[in-house]
């Protein structure tokens, strides 16, 4: 990401269009086939070498409810959501009133002709497009025309912002690479839109897209896909799962790649096993059973599934069984907002289950880290013999992000402290829950080990070092204390936070801590605040439990804003519990509207809180 502040483009002369800095929103309804048109629009911009990101804000149904797709092109590389839309394509009567009302003055509105009556605002640039007439010249069949009509706005937008139609064509060919007839009809539709717009509309006076080379060699990928690849390349051997939005595609994509890339070259047999379970209790039980028996086992779910897994996670914690849970977070229970963004499972995942217990959380902040951390989680689970959570959210998991291609994982697979028959023969003794090395991590054997000392009996609570039954106070307390030592070891093994000082080598007064999909919004907000003269150091948290760096960061700053996407300040409360003496220095910036995090909201909240202090 470039350090240049994108706000600088605002200082450009008012009558010259802004170059490569535009946010487009397409308002359609769910199930009308707009998705491929939107992807093609995004891809075309990407093909021109311009950094671009996309966010799909979709309802929790299959067909008919309003849906928005935003494409943000940003030379500076900002990929977070932008609150202010520069151009809106309004195709949906159900949402059109709000869609228009939300536009800032001066924005462009591309309006379906049937919605013309809603265009009351005089402070917008309004282009009414006769989509129905244009499409009827192309296809007669109503179902097909409903799909194809979306490609017409791609052509219109291409004209307005000077997107190269060659790149639109390339994007179409890529999208429909397996279906030449579909590619043709879509290209025809885009061309019709483009030709019509050329004849009838001026190009945008405010925004323009020009070729760059910032996307050369880059990939576009969803966080869920990246996570799936991480599991496949991380050497996962057992997957138990149950479908739930927004995590389903983690498992589905994993299954796809497993079948292609995880066959034993000698025998042709799969080096994995997958079961779609009957519920999340079962998927977690499968993972726990498999981890106990020596597999590298994982599951993927979302908040409701996490709740169901609680008891088994507690079992895995006390029985010390490796397990990985990918949690693509969404809003709370039942129906309503399952397709909206939230980081609302941080607290429940960290403390999941009954009795004492804390679990390491990996917090990827971009798609590359989704890949790397998913792979790493399997190593950490076996190294620490515990449950590791990989915490995504819907924004990171289901939206498209541009990234450098992922590098092969350099670290060899780590299976942790497992004693096989020969090693057991060498050490000559084995006590399953004994802290031999002082790091709180005991050794384990896996079932099938023929050594006479190998077998042990696994229970949740109530065991001695040798895994025999005990309800003695000192045995139990000793075990809990060792688990605390193990958790302290975990602190040292988790990915380090990423530190970015406002001025390298110096410590600013204000710090900010954020994680996950909040990262692009926070980066952009820092640039905005810097342009207002407010220097902010940034610590991007990449895991819990925290270690030294986080402590030092919080200690070093007068105030630290903890940005998170939930109402209850879940991360802040965990940090306050870790550092009670600095509790008053921790403030919260909380985003919980269900929309992806945006820089403007972060900036406004920090400015508001600072000005209350009389500092800003």
């Amino acid at each position: 990401m470039s350090e240049a502040s994108p706000t600088s483009s605002e200082s450009q002369s008012a009558n010259r269009p802004r170059v490569n800095d535009v946010t487009i929103s397409v308002a359609t309804s769910n199930g009308t086939g707009s998705q491929s048109a939107n992807l093609i629009l995004m891809r075309s911009i990407f093909n021109m070498g311009i950094p671009v990101g996309a966010k799909n804000m979709f309802p929790s149904n299959i067909q008919g409810l309003p849906t928005w797709f935003t494409v943000r092109a940003s030379a500076a590389g900002w990929s977070g959501r932008r609150r202010l839309i520069d151009l809106c394509v309004a195709m949906n009567e159900e949402s059109v009133v709000d869609d228009i009302a939300q536009l800032p003055p001066g924005a462009t509105l591309v309006l379906h002709k049937s919605l013309e009556k809603y265009a009351q605002r005089t402070d917008l640039v309004v282009h009414v497009v006769p989509f129905d007439d244009l499409v009827s010249g192309l296809v007669k069949e109503p179902k097909l025309s409903k799909l194809v009509v979306n490609m017409i706005y791609v052509g219109v937008v291409a004209h307005l912002f000077a997107i190269d139609m060659k790149e639109v064509e390339r994007a179409i060919q890529r999208q429909f690479s397996k279906k030449a007839s579909a590619a043709k009809i879509n290209l025809d539709a885009a061309t019709v839109g483009h030709v019509w717009a050329e004849a009838n509309l001026p190009q945008s006076a405010t925004h323009r897209l020009e070729r760059m080379s910032a996307t050369d060699g880059k990939i576009i990928i969803e966080g869920n896909q990246a996570t799936a690849l991480g599991l496949v390349f991380g050497g996962m051997t057992v997957l138990g799962w149950y479908p739930i939005t927004p995590s389903s595609s983690v498992a589905e994509v994993t299954i796809d790649y497993l079948s292609k890339y995880r066959k034993d070259p000698e025998t042709g047999k799969p080096t994995y096993a997958v079961i779609q379970a009957e519920d999340e209790l079962a998927s977690m039980a499968i993972v726990v059973g498999a981890g106990w028996a020596g597999a590298r086992a994982a599951t993927a779910t979302s908040g409701p599934g996490i709740s169901l897994m609680g008891e088994l996670v507690g079992l895995a914690y006390f029985a010390e069984i490796p397990a990985v849970i990918v949690d693509v977070q969404r809003m709370g229970p039942s129906t309503g907002l399952p397709t909206r963004v939230s980081q609302g499972d941080i607290f429940s995942a960290y403390h999941l289950s009954h009795g004492d217990g804390k679990h390491p959380l990996l917090l990827p902040g971009n798609v590359r880290e989704c890949f790397e951390f998913a792979a790493e989680s399997l190593d950490l689970a076996e190294r620490l013999q515990t449950v590791i959570f990989v915490m995504l959210d819907l924004d990171l998991g289901m939206n498209l992000w541009s990234s450098d291609p992922f590098e092969p994982i350099a670290k060899p697979i780590d299976r942790g402290k497992v004693l096989d028959e020969a090693q057991l023969a060498k050490v000559g003794s084995f006590a399953r829950y004994k802290d031999v090395d002082g790091d709180g991590i005991p050794y384990r054997t896996i079932p099938g080990n023929p050594h006479p000392l190998a077998a042990y009996f696994t229970r949740g609570t109530g065991h001695t070092e040798a895994a025999t039954y005990s309800e003695k106070a000192q045995d139990w307390k000793g075990n809990l204390d060792r688990l605390t030592r193990k958790f302290d070891t975990a602190r040292t093994l988790m990915p380090r936070p990423v530190l970015k000082a406002a001025t390298p080598g110096q410590v600013a007064e204000i710090g900010v801590i954020a994680f996950g999909s909040s990262d692009p919004a926070v980066e952009e907000s820092r640039a905005e605040l810097a342009s207002q003269g407010m220097a902010i150091d940034y610590l991007r948290l990449r895991a819990l439990p925290i270690d030294r760096e986080v402590r030092e960061f919080i200690e070093a700053h007068r105030v630290v804003y903890v940005v998170e996407q939930n109402r209850d300040a879940q991360l802040a409360s965990i940090l306050k519990a870790e550092l009670p003496e600095r509790a008053t220095a921790l403030r919260s910036v909380l985003l919980y509207s269900g929309l992806p995090a945006d820089a403007q909201s972060v900036t406004e909240d920090i400015v508001r809180q600072e000005s209350k202090e009389g500092r800003a």
Partner: protein, 355 residues
């Protein structure tokens, strides 16, 4: 021992050598920790039957994984086969835990011990789905018609009209675990009684030899909470009412006895490992390989509150979960790490598709 003719010195009186099985292990090698159950509990008899059966079959203890849920019954996995790994998991989830364990290592022989509460109430869903998948597992339900560990509440297998210790009447029809298992496609379904050591022993050995999930629903009286008059899972009731469907015999693959069985009175079914189940006809004409007949028998028993024991249903051909997953001979758990990570070339190839 030398075979020289010299007269042996006066040898000390030989102590009786313990009987050894085909692995040269004695019965002790199949025992576990001391039981902490109430004395007389049916579950302890089942534990003894397990010890004996695994000993007689000559199962290598380290090739066994013991799994259980929660309950008095589920505790018993600690009381046998101390040389096998054991996992006392959580209430009702053992079926799914065992499924995972079997995925990780399908070369192990799993034995799962559950209770009627563990299987028919909290864990019913997992039980049914496990049966559909057919992992290799001897699945025992130690069925006492009540929740022993939480002090005697009715379970879902309590018969209609049976009484709780305090006198409460059960007004609901029981869940028949065997019938459900057959409905779900289980290839080995048996019912037995903890007091019928002989039959249980034969059934257990046959279950060990079976390729997929083998269910044995064993009525196992709870002497503390469900052994009173009015209970249909008490010792006196079970003893008075047990009716054998047939006489179950088992000939393991390593015993090459060829006996001519009278086809009119005896049915022989060969199992996957070439062991044989030998079923001798008693009163009724019954073919346990006939699924419809099996379901009819169970519903007839349910309607008339009969306690029928024996091998209710057998289909040795059902593909196991490992077969359906197409697993190779090496368990996933011990595959070498280099087989688990696709090459950098593969990653580069995948990355191209996202460009």
């Amino acid at each position: 021992m030398s075979h020289e003719a010299a007269a042996p010195p006066a040898a000390p009186k030989p102590t009786k050598a313990p009987a050894l099985n085909r692995l040269s292990l004695d019965l002790k090698a199949y025992k576990g920790a001391n039981s902490t159950l109430c004395s007389g509990c049916g579950h302890d008899s089942i534990t003894n039957a397990i010890i004996k059966s695994f000993f007689e079959y000559g199962v290598e203890p380290h090739r066994v994984a013991k799994l259980s849920g929660i309950g008095c019954s589920s505790k018993t996995t600690a009381y046998f086969l101390s040389r096998s790994h054991g996992f006392n998991s959580v209430h009702g989830r053992m079926a799914a835990v065992a499924t995972g364990s079997n995925m990780a290592n399908h070369t192990l022989l799993n034995i799962g011990v559950s209770g009627d509460g563990d299987t028919a109430s909290i864990g019913l869903g997992h039980f049914l789905h496990m049966v559909r998948r057919n992992p290799q597992l001897v699945y025992l339900v130690e069925n006492n018609g009540c929740y022993g560990l939480t002090k005697g509440q009715f379970s879902a297998t309590a018969d209609k009209g049976s009484l709780q210790k305090g006198g409460a009447v059960n007004r609901m029809d029981p869940i028949d675990i065997c019938a459900l298992a057959i409905e779900m496609g289980c290839g080995f379904v048996a019912r037995s009684f903890s007091g019928d050591a002989k039959q249980l022993n034969q059934l257990l050995k046959a279950a060990i030899a079976h390729k997929g999930t083998a269910l044995i629903d064993v009525v196992s009286p709870c002497v503390t909470f469900n052994n009173h008059e009015g209970s249909t899972k008490s010792y006196p009731y079970a003893r008075a009412h047990e009716e054998l469907i047939h006489e179950v015999g088992f000939v393991p693959f390593f015993e090459e006895i060829s006996v001519d069985y009278d086809a009119g009175t005896t049915q022989v079914v060969e199992l996957h490992d070439h062991s044989k189940v030998v079923l001798k006809k008693l009163e009724r004409d019954y073919d346990p390989t006939n699924r419809r007949q099996a379901l009819e028998l169970l519903s007839h028993a349910q309607e008339n509150q009969l306690f029928l024991t024996g091998l209710v249903y057998l289909d040795p051909s059902m593909p196991s979960m490992a077969e359906q997953l197409d697993l190779g001979s090496e368990p996933l758990a011990t595959l070498p790490a280099e087989k688990l990570r696709p090459s950098p070339t593969a990653l580069a190839e995948i990355m191209e598709t996202f460009k």
